[in-house]
Symmetry: C2
Subunit: 360 residues, 2 copies
Amino acid sequence: MLNDIVENRLIASLVQGYRRSPLQANGLHETDAEILRLNDACSIAITTDSIAEEVEIGLYEDPWLIGWMAVMANLSDLAAVGALPLGLVLSEILPSDFSQESLKRLQQGIRDACERCGTFVLGGDTNAGTKLIITGTAFGLNTEGRFLTRTGCRPGDCLYATGSLGTGSAYALSVLMTNPGGENSEKPVDYRPVARVREGAILKRFASSCMDTSDGVLATLDQLVRLNRLGFELTAPWNEALDTRVREMASERRIPEWLFLAGQHGEFELLFTIPVRSVALFEESALAGGWQPRLLGRVVAEPVVRISINEQLHVLDTGRIRNIPWTAGPDPGKQLEELLAMHTALAGHEQTFYTALTNS
Amino acid sequence: MLNDIVENRLIASLVQGYRRSPLQANGLHETDAEILRLNDACSIAITTDSIAEEVEIGLYEDPWLIGWMAVMANLSDLAAVGALPLGLVLSEILPSDFSQESLKRLQQGIRDACERCGTFVLGGDTNAGTKLIITGTAFGLNTEGRFLTRTGCRPGDCLYATGSLGTGSAYALSVLMTNPGGENSEKPVDYRPVARVREGAILKRFASSCMDTSDGVLATLDQLVRLNRLGFELTAPWNEALDTRVREMASERRIPEWLFLAGQHGEFELLFTIPVRSVALFEESALAGGWQPRLLGRVVAEPVVRISINEQLHVLDTGRIRNIPWTAGPDPGKQLEELLAMHTALAGHEQTFYTALTNS
């Protein structure tokens, strides 16, 4: 079932033949960061993430954002296992024509992200290259040896997000596809994810499963479905969890709101499940920690994602959605076209949206 | 003094403005890997290294070697601080035209290197890109919280290498510059460094300073000079520490043997110093561990590198040698030319070598 997804097959083929460390506490795909158990009291979480394709396709152009994301993408993985970040190392491939000004902005983004999350650059490596590529590797501590995994939820558990959703898709849309309505004065989407480190530390006490939305909300739910062999019903008013600017953009561009959960450039929130018996204490702890979790729905026995669209509950083919980059190719216009076709098939009679794709 | 070296200036400029972790136990440039003290009994070593430029300039073409080096370059840094490797994560940028066969060889190289040093791939990240780039990040444990540093040697200490030297330079020469003598049947240089992990663990008990030769022997000595404000005299028959094939190549190509210490593609041995009072016990422990350290010379008070060339002791301008990639540019022919000019200035009357540079 995991291998229905091209990306899962790719990962499985890459690790095939490697022996696993006897100290490694997580299985393949089971956690957002790798966990190494040093002793009963202490395990280490480690994760690596390169900012490469995002630069290559023009999604990230501002060096500040590239630096910020190189840090945040990694810290988000640590947050999703409930680890306390200890620091990170960075490998920077710098193009020979990279200006001093760009380098400064890159470093400022790295520095701002570290300060925002209270962590540190410990060291790194640099190489000259043709394209800017930043690889971060972060590591953190799991006190008491405990950590969050993607597996363990049960039917009936409540599904939440740590914050508002859809900004990753909306940002990608605004950068990669100008509004075919021609409104060039479209208000830019503020995209500056903050890894949910403090939230992850609270979730470690309550959550029955947790994963970050680095690949978007539906890709995350799809992976949780495959790993847990359970499903999710997004029956709560999930669209209230969308960022305000995202809902505005959906309306301006006449794109169905749920499609902002389907893009695979994520918002780096955490999706997590809480057993009903723990909900009251969890919500209290979250409030005490200064945040408001967004209820999205429930865990259900049938291993599919159902979402209410205009008060009708629809099953989404999340596997098909995740494979769109492979089936539709890299063109964001083609990818959106396929998502819109899916929407038409689900809720065709409301097809009043976004008809000017080819103008983009 | 450190900042006389372009690379040191670059590193200093890259970390400028970053706050240092209060847990970080090493200073900038002071160790081959970053050290984070978790508690009195335990510190973690972490290091990151990308194989990028080596692929870009055609130095590494075989995917097996690229995989092997992505692991070994990192494990060598752990060895140089005396850490026990716990594992590594890999970020792979794979070109779209990378064949299945190449991918298999890459993975085989990674796997072989891990098995050779008893360590594990814990996880990773993949991106599509234009050029193959592999970034490894390894981490290890420093039991008892102790670790080796580049600083701490004293005049009189003995200078050693863990194994035979010059293979990195000889390999680069054989790949990047065909023999102008026209002997295309030149025997290839076997280049397959093994990180000196076991040796590092022994050195932790004895060495007063330690650094790996990832950038070549003279670059390593130069950095040790700048950090310790002490010098080295290579008065032992250091050329006996050269690999047999290296000495053959020096003779075939009529290149002075010491130039094989000057190239900045290293052999990933450790250079280290042992206080005289510990030499006997150290050598005994090394032998018991199954290896034969190579004595190169001594630590001296004057902060320069002196080397005996044909029984004459010469001061080498190692700072100039390290800056050659910036002063002579990326062309290996131009770089060798500058080294040969240095040799002529030092020992000009023996100028019987390698006159056909422009034919290469």
